[in-house]
Symmetry: C2
Subunit: 231 residues, 2 copies
DNA sequence: TTTTAGATATGATATATATCATGACATTTA
DNA sequence: TAAATGTCATGATATATATCATATCTAAAA
């Protein structure tokens, strides 16, 4: 974890319009004052459940996982967040401590704004509040829908789903380095690690995919689509 | 469905402080103008996914289910809402049409405020916006947590969970008329109807519960607790 | 370097759950 | 009223999944 020198002002940020597009200059300056850009190395924890919420986080670069720790040594991964996602949006407005942990799956740059400053701006700019409501609602809906979708599928369908997820939503490519371990896949789609490995091997033997360590090639994405759809 | 004559003003409503406690008189009058109280009979649909969102709903009396319709004739029940719950909070700020359906499990009275009026007030009162954010976030977190909790349990644990849920959270009693069918229990805790019935019978044979049609008596709630906890 | 721990891999087996079949009973519909 | 439909109930069976055991390979630690 390393704080980066603050080079650009929020007002000139390429991502400004994602959320701050309609803020007035005064509020934008106000938020910019507490703004920090922080770099996290792969594996580092960005925020930990139970600790105090001090900032509103925005993912600028990299990839992170949101998860809930489990005493029995197997976590529950809730979702994967990618650049442009407001990773801290879950529960920061209802709790004073994080309900979920966030850690970096790749080297990641996070933009951080003081949570109090953020709430101040929301309090005086209702239009901004509506936008936050909108973003938050979308994020939760998306997670919920994904959860239901995964749970109603059989294991093969889940593996197909997650492979297509990385291919279509994260990397926009039929080949990619999968950023999480087999065990983390298991934690994300609720099955055992052994079965993740087994079914990946199965897909490999059926020539649906090619595996080379972390590198995965989707040889027949259409077949994955149909396995995913049929559950 | 029947609109009730409007007797009391929002300012004198016993539930005012749940959300409207800090609104100024002007805004409260404004919301009150579009306010309607509507009665739904058991089984009636309160709002249907895909239809346009026109109002912000608040459950005053009764019990409802939030669910997602499934083409394959088995719905997914997302949660049960009880008096004091803001049942329409899911997705009304991110979508123009409902993502979920809501229907009455018992005779229910719903308080309805025009969604546009609601957004107007949020836009001009940021403190109110923060409260909405808070309520919404809590509701989603709760649903998500429940989902994870249910899914990691075995079927017996799920049945124990849902019995305790009705006992502790809805009826505050060890005996109650269960307001949903076996099939709906299945839709809520993601298992087959046959297994719901089977396991309820099992609990009955083990004298953990007594069943008389819809009437359920928790004879040994402590044993249910432990079955629930152990999964 | 050696040792240790973790990740990947696979097989055998146990177990949990779904599916299919059938019947009784209750409730709605014709 | 009878017929039809849905709910509750239970058993037999098939299937999906977890668990346990073991091996190899890799990466981290001593």
């Amino acid at each position: 974890m390393r704080e980066l020198p603050s080079l650009n002002h929020c007002s000139t940020c390429v991502y400004k319009n994602l959320l701050f597009g309609n803020l007035n200059t005064e509020d934008l300056n106000f938020l910019n004052e507490s703004k920090k850009e922080i770099e996290f190395k792969k594996g580092e924890i960005i925020s930990e459940e139970g600790t105090e919420i001090t900032s509103f986080l925005y993912l600028k670069q990299g990839l992170v996982k949101l998860y809930k720790k489990n005493p029995l040594h197997k976590d529950q991964i809730i979702s994967i967040a990618k650049p442009r996602d407001f990773v801290s949006l879950l529960s920061i407005f209802s709790e004073s401590t994080y309900k979920y942990s966030i850690s970096a799956l790749e080297d990641t740059i996070v933009c951080s704004v003081d949570i109090k400053a953020m709430k101040d701006v929301i309090s005086r700019d209702g239009k901004f509040a509506i936008e936050i409501l909108n973003k938050m609602s979308k994020m939760y809906d998306d997670i919920l829908e994904t959860r239901f979708e995964i749970n109603k599928k059989h294991l093969r369908g889940r593996i197909a789903y997650i492979l297509l997820y990385f291919s279509n939503h994260i990397y926009q490519s039929d080949e990619f380095d999968i950023p999480i371990s087999r065990r983390e896949i298991a934690e994300l789609i609720e099955m055992t690690t052994e079965n993740v490995i087994r079914i990946l091997s199965e897909f490999r033997k059926d020539s649906i995919i090619k595996i080379d360590g972390k590198k995965i090639y989707l040889l027949e994405p259409e077949r994955l689509e149909s396995i995913c759809k049929l559950g």
